[in-house]
Symmetry: C2
Subunit: 425 residues, 2 copies
């Protein structure tokens, strides 16, 4: 029985979502009436896998917050405000977390007793923040962390020790390639009555001279979208990435991992959510991944910042898109009146194929939740394409044109043409 219906205008993405709450599970219906130019029936959105796990990729409800931000360029990847003391500069204060990735680290820590499994989360949260702000051409200057934890489920000093090592390592690495980013400390909150295990996020402060801001407003028909790989191993990295980054982890955990984990560690799950439905253990080695399921799930997010800054020095860039929450549909928030057409996407990394197959997840939803192997997108005109590819080659990271931009008469739109179907968003 339908209990209540709310209608929200999704200001930024120019679409409207009707939200149905039904017996504790969430589903999303996009009304065609509001959704105008897209040829999809509402029933296509009736139920998504991620919604049933309590995660809303459509980000309903954020409109009330958008209204109170005095952003200079609403079409930019993240909000840029005027520096209160220097009108020639834009400032960005950006927050992002590791999603539910801490739960995977927690399970590995519990199973092995080794707190080093927490370490990679520092890289994750740094990546999630600095790579968002470089998308508007800004320079990250300062970063701080927020850790909320339940001291009854883990040893605070083991968690903090491992994370401090992780932050120290990643900041040293960034400094070695010329970054000025400084670590300003943060807050550790013990909240056993709120937090089941632990949560980690970061905030980055960045500045950009207003004349150098990248907003996506200069995207023109015919511009190329270059996709930069999220998986593999760059020349700056000492480990193989699964490509997963920090988004879709709740979905990945639930469809891959065995029900034994929530049984053994009830603190890793909300009682309203159905148990894990997967058939793997954390240490199950999967031939096609070339690593264990646990390794694939906690594989740290690539930091694109050094590569992006090099691209910005060598090419004229019209837009940058960090494919985090929203996956390959993240571009919808950038630019104005842009039809993104992605029709030459690379084969997704094996982790995405595994998640899709095991969870029987709709391909449409896969593209909305995961980066599908493309962690960063760069929009350039044809003349600048080779410079972008060259820089990626120098860093040992795969890159290729994945599509183009056209004009859209109404809001932004995205068409994905893949071997699994044609999807429009």
């Amino acid at each position: 029985m339908l209990k209540s219906i709310y209608v929200y205008r999704f200001l930024k993405m120019g679409m409207c979502v009707q939200r149905h709450k039904e017996k504790g599970s969430f589903c999303h219906i996009l009304s065609k009436e509001y959704y105008g130019h897209h040829n999809r029936s509402p029933s296509m959105y009736k139920k998504d896998k991620y919604g049933s796990l309590g995660v809303d990729v459509h980000k309903t409800g954020i409109a009330s917050f958008k209204r109170i931000i005095d952003e200079l360029f609403p079409e930019a990847f993240c909000p840029i405000l005027k520096h209160p003391l220097d009108p020639s500069k834009g400032i960005i204060l950006h927050e992002d977390g590791a999603g539910s990735k801490p739960i995977v680290s927690y399970l590995l820590y519990k199973e092995t007793g080794d707190p080093r499994h927490f370490r990679g989360l520092a890289r994750d949260v740094v990546a999630m923040n600095v790579d968002d702000v470089v998308c508007v051409g800004a320079t990250p200057l300062a970063i701080s962390d927020y850790i909320a934890l339940n001291p009854f489920t883990l040893k605070k000093e083991e968690l903090l020790g491992a994370l401090a090592e992780g932050f120290s390592e990643v900041l040293r690495e960034l400094r070695s390639v010329g970054s000025d980013l400084c670590f300003c400390g943060g807050e550790t909150a013990e909240l056993p009555d709120i937090i089941r295990t632990f949560d980690i996020s970061c905030t980055v402060y960045a500045e950009v001279p207003l004349k150098y801001v990248i907003t996506g407003s200069r995207i023109s028909p015919g511009d190329i979208i270059v996709g930069i790989r999220s998986g593999g191993k760059s020349s700056m990295e000492s480990f193989e990435n699964s490509g997963l980054m920090c988004n879709g982890i709740t979905l990945a955990r639930h469809v891959l991992l065995s029900g034994e984990y929530p049984k053994k560690y009830p603190e890793i799950m909300c009682p309203e959510v159905k148990g894990y439905t997967g058939r793997f253990r954390l240490d199950s080695y999967i031939e096609e991944l070339g690593m264990t399921v646990g390794e694939a799930l906690i594989s740290p997010t690539r930091i694109y910042m050094p590569l992006v800054l090099e691209i910005l020095r060598r090419a004229e860039v019209k837009a940058l898109i960090h494919n985090t929450g929203g996956g390959l549909t993240k571009c919808l928030r950038v630019g104005r009146g842009v039809a993104y057409i992605k029709d030459t996407l690379p084969e997704p990394d094996p982790i995405f194929l595994l998640i899709q197959r095991e969870g029987k997840v709709d391909w449409r939803e896969m593209y909305q939740v995961f980066n599908m192997g493309v962690g960063m997108e760069v929009v350039v005109d044809k003349e600048n394409l080779n410079q972008v590819i060259d820089v990626c080659e120098k860093f040992g990271v795969g890159a290729q044109p994945i599509g183009r931009c056209e004009r859209s008469s109404e809001g932004n739109s995205l068409l994905i043409n893949s071997k699994w179907g044609i999807f429009s968003y």
Copy 2:
């Protein structure tokens, strides 16, 4: 049975804590050997009330993080780093949250169905951040929020709508008194497998010309500590404050509220923590408080910023201390070799007397957890005392000398001489 012992050096506070984990409950033993000049036996710390609820006021474990912060003035109230692009400036990127206060708002929301009970939390987290950074003489320029929630226990859009209104209101208020603080947005994370109800925190970015930094290093013997009231109603406020601010809420909830709440809403409690032991309902009107228990618990934190900026314009200030986590012992982190002597403290606001009486909390612990009616301390020499009192009078906030500073031969120390005993920290 003692399972494990860890020894941590508490770098900032110059003390060392041995941490004993015993059957899931935490207690703290301060070893005299490491704790030098204080005349206390380890047994005095064996068990504190707050520790048994999973909150460690001694902040063990943060040492690993302190090591990786390149702070310019380790004796200052919060870490100040050199601006990477302007060596004449210090920057602060500071994070703090509302503690477990969201649980009280959540209960009021559940009991009444009114999401406006979430609104005051915006004021709380703004206060917790801006009033920390003004303690080093810095100007807060930008603020962002982080909200992590469980969509199965509350309606996201109701929470976000109320909080957005709250942020909007408090920022408008601050702008009306000349603040440049801008709201830069934030992150909303749906993490039902990590978060039982919701958690809220903010990050503030602030700058200070290095020549104007207030570090506490100029504190001299004989300087006066002026205490500024946390309770009551200032000329800027439209409501009566209980004085509680955001710290000690876990302890206050557990000793005041009735066991019916966790029974009715099991999502508000960690299973490892004992149920509520109090005898009040949220709507119990308490004569001595002049408000209900619920109102006293969610009473928003006073924002001292406008008052403090006015004091800084009119007086030469040697130190400012925002009495948040650590309560009246927070001063221990400021300055070097300072013996703080607080012997003329005001009568604590009724909420603190109620918590102490109902929870039979040691007075020693009360001073370590709560601000006890003094939300902000200002250290000045005798010549500047009247200017501070005058400004507080102008804002309609009670203020009085609460003690003095002397020299300490070893680290900082604090002596509280109250009608309930003499306590040294």
